[in-house]
Amino acid sequence: MSRRFQPSMAAAHGVLILWALVVLLPVWTMLINSVKPKREIFRNPFGLPSEFTLDGYINAWTDGKFDLYFRNSLIVAVVSLVLILLIGSLAAYALASWRSRVSNFLYIYFIAGLMIPIRLGTINLFQIIQALGLSDNLAGLILIYTAMGMPIATFVLTSFIRSVPVELTEAARIDGASEFRIYRTVILPLIRPALATVTIFNVIPIWNDLWFPLIFIRNQEARTVTLGVTLLFGQYQTDWTRALSALSMAAVPVLAAYLLMSGQFIKGLTAGALKG
């Protein structure tokens, strides 16, 4: 193609730049106004602060127990993900290798969960969690999120493992390797990209979930970040420096992780979208 000015290309940039502003301006106002004193937010909502303050953060940090909330959210997200990847890949390996009516049925049983939100089972989950003594407990959230992750994990991992050449697993079998050994030494290293995709599909919904903490967590010690922000934001309605600081605190770790890894992130997501 020629290098001369193309009107269609300029229009494309125009549309995309406009949208980039629509996306970035709100995020910018959140971050920049969280370090301004209250009065200046209303006088000068978009510019750099003339007076820099961290009061909002200090207040939000002391009013809420954000160190605790972060720790809780991190425990829930990491343990759920490890369980999803471990349990999901074991099941997917069995589903991919075992061709029988039982395994076909189980595959469909798992996949059916892709389209049905777990929230609709909340009423009975409430009773199950109570009966197991897991309300107000991070373990309750972890088990629910692990169950919630099973459909996508079995779906993505089974199709990925089926695409692994049979010769590789057969060769290991002839050498007398146990199934667990094949899973660990042959399959796991090969399915790393698929594991990344499963991680991406699960980590954001788990980290950002409000529904289950809102219903199951009453105790302050077990609050997650989203739940903590909800409660703080209610108190801070009129103090925007504090309100925006609380929001920024919840957003910045996610934003930082996304900006660092957006390349891999989008690649994993696209791989998943193509498979589906």
Binding site: M1, S8, M9, H13, V15, L16, W19, V23, L24, P26, T29, I41, F42, P45, I87, G88, L90, A91, Y93, A94, L95, S97, W98, L106, G113, M115, I116, P117, I118, R119, L120, G121, I123, N124, L125, F126, Q127, I128, L143, A147, M148, M150, R173, E179, F180, Y183, N208, L210, W211, V229, T230, L244, A250, A251, V254, L255, Y258, I266, L269, G276
Partner: protein
Amino acid sequence: MSDAVLTEVGQVRERAAARWDVQRRRTWVLFLVPAVIVYTVFMAFPLFNSMRLSLYQGKGLTPETYVGFANYTELFTNPLWRDRFFNALRNTVVFFAIHMLVQNTLGLLFASLLSNVHLRGRNIYRAVIFLPATLSVLVTGFLWTLILNPRWGMLNQLLEGVGLGALARPWLGDANLALPVISLVSSWQWVGLPTMMFLAGLLTISDELLEAARVDGASAWQVFWRIKLPLLKPVIGIVSVLTFVGNFNAFDVIFAMAGARGEPGYSTDLMATFFYRTAIAGEHPVAQPNMGLGAAIATIMFLILLAGVSLWLILGRERDEKTGT
């Protein structure tokens, strides 16, 4: 070697292989056990058991008295529940329609622009478009309530700054505006998902096909309508069904921007917020959680989702049969 020996060797081998098979199958079953247990106990069983509970009533946590379809009768005959139910259903349909119209059309537009490999900075645009989807709905919802605040909000200030002060409004305080505005905020957040899916679909269309059309004199517009869009049909299907499922159990954005009661005056109440109030928080003026009635609402939501997903599967199968793939 004689034939007899050969057969014997063969039999030994077969027996060994059979033993191996049994052992392998046993390991596979073991591999499946944890996933089946977790998924059944914390997802599949509660889903179906909640439906059973819609036939029960009772005070407190566990509805124990079997009442047949009384919860459904109550839901559809008591004016309080009936009006709130149909209000929430109508609002959810509007919420879904705006997402289809705005979020998915914008997603298709952005994907078409980004599918041009000569476009500079396409990775940066793509990352920015997807960025809001990584944030918690709660954070973006709260942030937008501040931006849309009628007295101090940045949007009205911005409008006044560029001389459009007449357009400034109490965006979330007006019962006619609140639902469309919240739907737009939600579309703003999630537009990255359809963009990624459409982009993935567009990139699988072969260059030769598009080149051939151009050589034949087709304009860019014709290429889009006659070639790209028909080939994107399966992706349009999956994007629509995912939007449908997501919208029909959307809760967080309403909770953050309009409260659990869908203010102002239930004008933004969706199925999931209605379900939450009825089953968990206690619906006004009853103020007592009603698990049986909540289970009935969840069952109806389940049936609506099932109908939508089945429709998608049937349409997809018909298309596959027509094209013979």
